[in-house]
């Protein structure tokens, strides 16, 4: 078990190294000269050359990659071309809203999607099942920003129940925090709910046909205890795996959701950086998101033993 954990953790290192190489190469092959951008409109060629040298841009590719990686490992992601602020500072300023949004969406999605999938499997072929499956397909088919605008229009503008935009830090209390995040979380959660509900239904169907469930039924165990205690527990592994993989969906969706709801998070930082070709920031954010993704999936892999005692390593 312990050896497995170590091995699994070590496996993420080459993956992250590859991501780093890829992200670094993005800057390397990008058109345009960061030195010229930093130097500004009226710089002379000598100025630009001086800045190039001071940034180390005149050195060979591998040397630059090494230096960059070394700096990253020491928590230095470079400096934004446009704001002149360290990338780590900019990320630190914006990480709370994004993590909050993703965490809330995750919780909401699981709370909604898993029961949906379970009920659909249980009532297979009925109207409820069809409704759930219909919703699931629809969830994949409507772009997140359309859902966002609809929600904002109905619940914020027409009904005035919730704010339209913005973010209130958790340190100002749970309620204000929640008020600002509920609509974005629902908008962002749509695809995710669809994904989890589908896999839950599919796995549950498989599990429900297993012998031990039939045995439990024969023994007269209650319907809900069969569903949620026996069956769901045995269906947990694929569901949790999909939840982990789906984090990628959340990250992609957050980029859009934060724009729609004016949430000052990493997603908007990404969009702004990309529109302005602020490569150090792009690198920093992509690296961070990938790291989060790899980390979450690592934790999920490690957590399998908890969900499914049959898995032994």
């Amino acid at each position: 078990m312990f050896a497995y954990v170590i091995r699994r953790v070590l496996q993420t290192i080459p993956v992250m190294a590859l991501v780093a190489l890829f992200v670094f190469s993005l800057l390397y092959i990008s058109p345009g000269d960061p030195a010229a951008v930093i130097a500004g409109d009226q710089a002379t060629p000598q100025d630009v050359e001086r800045i190039r040298a001071s940034l180390g841009l005149d050195r060979p590719y591998l040397v630059r990659f090494g230096t960059w990686l070394w700096a990253i490992l020491h928590g230095d992601m470079g400096t934004s071309i446009f704001t002149n602020l360290p990338v780590t500072t900019m990320i630190a300023q914006r990480i709370e809203p994004t993590l909050s949004l993703m965490a809330l969406t995750l919780v909401l999605a699981i709370l909604i999607a898993v029961p949906m999938g379970v009920v659909a499997a249980w009532k297979q072929g009925t109207l409820i099942d069809r409704a759930v499956m219909g919703f699931a397909v629809l969830g994949f088919s409507v772009p997140v920003f359309v859902v966002g605008y609809l929600l904002a229009y109905v619940f914020a503008l027409e009904l005035d129940w919730l704010p339209v935009q913005g973010y209130t830090s958790l340190s100002n209390g749970v309620l204000p925090w929640l008020e600002n995040l509920v609509l974005p979380a629902i908008a962002l959660g749509g695809v995710y709910i669809a994904l989890i509900a589908r896999i839950t239904r599919a796995t549950m169907l498989e599990v429900l046909q297993q012998d031990y469930i039939r045995t439990a039924r024969a023994k007269g165990a209650g319907q809900s205890s069969i569903l949620f205690l026996h069956a769901l527990k045995n269906a947990a592994v694929p569901i949790v795996t999909v939840i982990g993989i789906g984090i990628a969906l959340l990250i992609g969706g957050a980029v859009v959701t934060e724009s729609v709801f004016a949430i000052p998070g990493l997603g908007r930082l990404t969009v702004d950086a990309i529109l302005r070709r602020d490569y150090p920031v792009i690198q920093g954010v992509v690296l961070l998101f990938s790291f989060v993704y790899v980390l979450v999936n690592l934790l999920i892999d490690l957590a399998y033993t908890l969900f499914d005692p049959r898995i032994r390593y």
């Binding site: 190489l21 990008s30 994949f140 772009p143 920003f145 359309v146 994904l195 859009v256 399998y304």
Partner: protein, 310 residues
């Protein structure tokens, strides 16, 4: 670990089903006895519905010039933001362009992006997956690279790639394709690896059949089913991604009327002129829905083991 690798070919942006389709070869999809095309469709109503809808959209795209449209890029600032009417079926946008014409021509962009990404990523992913599954030496290298690429959320990867290049339909297709390739490759590799252990393949190898022949006769045909299903989901996801890229300003150039661009331009007036966003949103959603339904139907038809339950 085992369970994780079984499920990992699942594209995060595509519905599951495929996940279960990956290890399918224990029940090889027999070629169904077809009692005519109609019979086939009747047995698979979901697919028939999805395919019909999609076909309709393709026809709309192809025959857009004949469907009462005008030049979708022609400006008429004097006739801007007109409500939908007999003259302007879907109204006009803030530059006086006819939204109906733009939406119909926009179908071309979305469908081209969706189909191109689906085909390109399948072909490239198939090749990489085959090589990986067959050439042991390259397998671990390729798969590590794919792992790395897969760790970058696909939309983020596509956006980052778009930052490198100028917005054009071609670049959008390439960016989304690159983001989708790793998942297809893993799927194909998984199928190849399990097929290689099938008794009849082992028998063929033992009988001295040459590798290209085995690939052509046994491996490829059996890979096509899951990859076709996967391709439809990729097609759907690519159309959504195209819209998202345009929405955040990193997609097709704004002078091209794609659904994403029409929505991106109309979003500022969402409150007062909702129709500018509404019509492209409905068309996009219907098209993506059609492709998703087609995918679900295909999966059920090609994978009877799943079909029994879904």
């Amino acid at each position: 670990m085992a369970s994780a690798s079984v499920l990992s070919p699942l594209d995060a942006a595509t519905p599951p089903g495929v996940a279960a389709a990956a290890p399918l070869p224990d029940v090889l999809p027999p070629v169904k006895p077809r009692k005519g095309f109609i019979g086939f469709l009747r047995r698979n109503p979901t697919m028939a519905f999805g395919a019909g809808l999609l076909l309709l959209m393709v026809l709309v795209a192809i025959f857009a010039p004949l469907l009462g449209t005008v030049d979708p890029t022609a400006l008429a600032p004097a006739k801007r933001t007109r409500e939908p009417s007999a003259l302007y079926w879907f109204g006009t946008d803030m530059l006086g362009r006819d939204v109906y014409s733009r939406v119909l021509y926009g179908a071309r962009v979305s469908l081209i992006v969706g189909f191109s990404v689906a085909i390109l990523s399948s072909v490239v992913g198939l090749t990489i997956g085959m090589v990986s599954g067959y050439v042991r030496l390259l397998d671990s290298v390729i798969m590590r690279v794919m792992d790395g690429l897969m760790s970058i959320p696909p939309i983020l990867l596509a956006i980052a790639l778009m930052a490198l290049t100028r917005g054009s339909v071609q670049n959008v297709i390439i960016a989304i394709t690159i983001a989708e390739i790793p998942r297809v490759s893993r799927l194909v590799r998984g199928v190849v690896l399990s097929l290689r252990e099938q008794p009849y393949v082992e028998a063929a190898v033992a009988a001295g059949t040459r590798t290209p022949a085995i690939i052509l006769r046994h491996i490829l045909p059996n890979t096509l089913a899951p990859i076709t299903v996967q391709a439809t989901y990729i097609c759907a996801a690519a159309m959504i991604t195209e819209a998202i890229l345009s929405f955040i300003g990193a997609g097709t150039p704004p002078i091209i009327p794609s659904w994403g661009n029409i929505m991106a331009e109309g979003r500022a007036l969402w409150q007062v002129k909702p129709y500018i966003v509404f019509f492209p949103a409905v068309f996009l959603s219907i098209t993506v829905l059609a492709v998703n339904l087609l995918g679900d139907g295909l999966r059920d038809a090609l994978d009877p083991r799943m079909a029994k339950r879904l």
